[in-house]
Amino acid sequence: MKTGTIKQILLITDGCSNQGEDPSHVATLIAEQGITVNVIGVLEDDQREQPVGLQEVEEIASCGQGISQIVYPQALSQTVQTVTKQAMSETLQGVVNKELKQILGEKQTIEELPPEQRGEIMEVVDDLGETSDLEVLVLVDTSASMTSKLPTVQEALMDLSVSMNARMGRSRFAVYQFPGRKESIHSLIDWTSQIDSISTIFSKLSSSGITPTGPALKEAMYEFAKPSLRRRSHTDDSPDIEEA
């Protein structure tokens, strides 16, 4: 079974968008391109209740057919991984469900099978999760209130690359921050398999009050189609499988 490369955008933010088009609307369009949008909302250490701004998080992810999670900074590493892995698995289950429907008829999904058969199918899903190629574009909100959390974000991303590189399949990451100085997003790390610890990846930005989440997501979507990513995929020894 061919699954192609699994593509995800991972949005890490601590607040509400306030400029440009509605991020949920953009997420819907992105999902249509076969890219899932996962969102992690980061709380302040002393925040007890979920702030209103973070309600948007759930909506963006559900429109982007991805997963959302709201966490305190110290749980970020584990959460980034859980969200990425779970979203991969759900994408793959979607692919498998589609195949099942072709074989067994419209109404059949994994969850409706008896436990024994479900086990066999999950083995296939697990195999695919281990061997599929993965591309994650990480989009980090670097507006003023996020500044203190950025070292933790960097550590979580390094940790994510450690985990994903332990898989058999190829994993590649790109990191962008938003808002950029002039553009809506600013590239920090171009597509790479390893996010290392050598330098601080988040450059100091003039902190403005704007959070253009929608435009940033849209720009991120185009990055997936950029030739730099495609070219590099072809020069690597494993072929790039596009069709599902």
């Binding site: 749980a75 584990q78 779970q86 994994i110 969850e111 436990p115 083995e123 940790d159 985990s163 590189n165």
Partner: protein, 318 residues
Amino acid sequence: MTPQTSKKPNIDLPKGTMIKGKWHHQTYRVIERLGAGAIGTVYLCESSQKKVALKLSNHSHSLTSEVNVLRAFKQVQGHSLGPALLDVDDFVTNNNCIYTFYVMEYLSGEPLHDFIKKRGMEWIYSLLIGLLNDLQALHENGYVFGDLKLDNLLVTHKPTRLKWVDVGGTTQQGRLIKEYTEFYDRGYWHMGSRKAEPSYDLFALAMVVIRLFYPNGFLKRNDPKKTIQQKVYQNIREPLLQAFVMQLLQGKFHQAKEAKQFLLQSYLQQSKQPSQRKKQKQRSSQQNTSETEYPVFEIVSIFSVGGFLSIYVAIFLF
């Protein structure tokens, strides 16, 4: 904090809830909640007057993967590698949510920390040796335990054994470790990858021993490796145990059975030479500084490494 990423709500089943399987129609009555992990909650239940452990989750996928592992264990003859799998089914709630669950044999026992406190530190050696036997068998079957930690271990009685109770992290060798806990994870300490290989479990085992001495754990700070080493030297004073932990951390053993041989041989050697030990003890107590314990530790570890090497050579010769 456990990430809650599923669309289905997490449920907490009160005492007395009847869980009836959709496919196999077995009924289980909830007695109490035993614990909650990253995926799912484990309940002590009663079914046909027998106590069983029931794990229920809103992550059907992850739970099904776990069941696959338990099924694979079932096929391994001769060595019990984990709790026996009794049933797998779906529980349909009143509001029509479906939760997958599986039922396994209930192991009763006590946490390692409590057991050691009551019965003494010397028990750690035989308990670790038993656990290393189980790990060796697991590794020989192509798996790695993954989420080895104090919370996942129980000391069972008759016989007194250290047993694992949750196989949620168990992963086929060569793959990405499915589930881990930061403190026990060599990736977190920048001391290795998260690829499932026997040495991953051996590192976690070292952290299990360390955790006994630091029940609340500690953070990695700037130099993670140095932090661990300092903590080991600070609190694990028993020379043999200290040497064992250090070797596990340094990845000296490639297989669980090598670690077991080291532990067994050094322990036997140590108890064979009581007079020598006494002399050394007197000497160090005369000088009465903590520093003097280090040479003693060096001597013992040189002896034991030597002994271990000769066994290793012997294995290769025959």
